[in-house]
Amino acid sequence: MMLSNCVPGSSHSYLAGDALHGQLAQLYLTALMQGDRPAAGRAVHGALERGVSVPELYRYVFEPAQYEVGRLWETREINVAQEHYCTAATQMIMSELYPHIFTSQKSGRTLVSTCVSGDLHEIGLRMVTDLFEMAGWNTFYLGANTPADAVVETLVGRHADVLAISATIAHHQKQVVALIDAVRASAAARHVKILVGGYLFRANPELGHTIGADGVAVNAHDAMALADQLLA
């Protein structure tokens, strides 16, 4: 599940200095490219102190920076080590913002989110889950190593309204299908609305419906609007 419409293999940078918080995003990524995670962290915390909201940091700094990292890796301008470093550093800096995330007034709705087993590209879904949390949802992010029966158990135990599943490559399709089937086979969980997203579904938007999902989201805002619509 991606945050916005990222074009694979794009030759254009995702960072524009004139975009909202564009200069901050450029400063952030430059620090990461120099291997200076503390400087990147300081840029983010400084912005927070100046009044930039956490959702804005997610949307206008972390998201375009991550897309840019992906683009640079695809065009071989950076190597795999740099790509992994930037992702890990962003995850760590995001985690420093958690105290700001888990304080919002709750709406009573619950989201459980998971990537299929083995998918390393989970930062997008993590961001989507955090944005749901900031919008008042109670969220449970299960990561990429939770077996289908444990996901179903969590849906039932947490009284979930929505399950969000993210997948990146075609190889993961079978696991998504198995997970959806497991949810539908459970009398206690089959009412849960299922949203799918990620590269796999953006590349083939019809696929989600074919395999039994209730909705296919192309970005976080889309995911939240879809979830509200499905629960209305």
Partner: protein, 265 residues
Amino acid sequence: MDATLDRRHYDNLSRINNEFATLQRELVKTNAELAILNEHKNRVLGMAAHDLRNPLGAIHSYAGFLEEEAGASLSPEHREFVTTIKDLSEFVLRMVTDLLDVSAIEAGRLRLDRAPTDLVELLLRSVKLNGVLATRKDIAVTLESGGARPMVNLDGGKIEQVLNNLIGNAVAFSHRHRPVAVRLGVDESTVTVAVEDHGQGIPAADVPLLFKPFSRTSVRGTEGEQSTGLGLAIVRNIVEGHGGRIWLDSQVGVGSTFFFTLPLG
């Protein structure tokens, strides 16, 4: 070959990092939920304690009136009933007051009305009051101020609460005839108050529990004195609220000395 191996290593690192980030998210979320639950607990506790205090105060007062005014006309058995009602209602009243204090402190509502105060005068008052209560166990409570007369910017009521608690504990956990001494030390930046007893002492394993609310230690009052388990938690918060600190030295069978400091100036 090397590139494949590198890739595998990086992927494994990513997996570990992802799991770490997921656990961290869960931890922060759980902590946030616990903080909210704690707030609810304090609010409920505060409301319950507040509603209980007035009727309990009335029970305690009426039992006292009965004991004083009608005591002579009661049978010994009925007089004992009245005394028990008075003593137990006093204990429960103290517990309710402590609960209110704890809930206020935990909710960040420890309010200190500080004013320059003659500390020795305050110590004398507390020693005198607790000395009267200690006569029941033939325990002498004394003050050694070394001639110092420091003026300290403090909340008199709250520091008196600290002293009453520490001296009260010293008496409660000491056997008969064992003296309790309150000592004052002064240097250029702080005053240190020590409350020393020659009681049972506190086992080392119990020491970390002492200043935590609702924790119970293995040490009991020597004549059945009851403890709410909240007093020292309140004491620590009051002392730290004044910018001081509190600690103790204790040896089982020898006794305990509780120290607390307050900043001067």
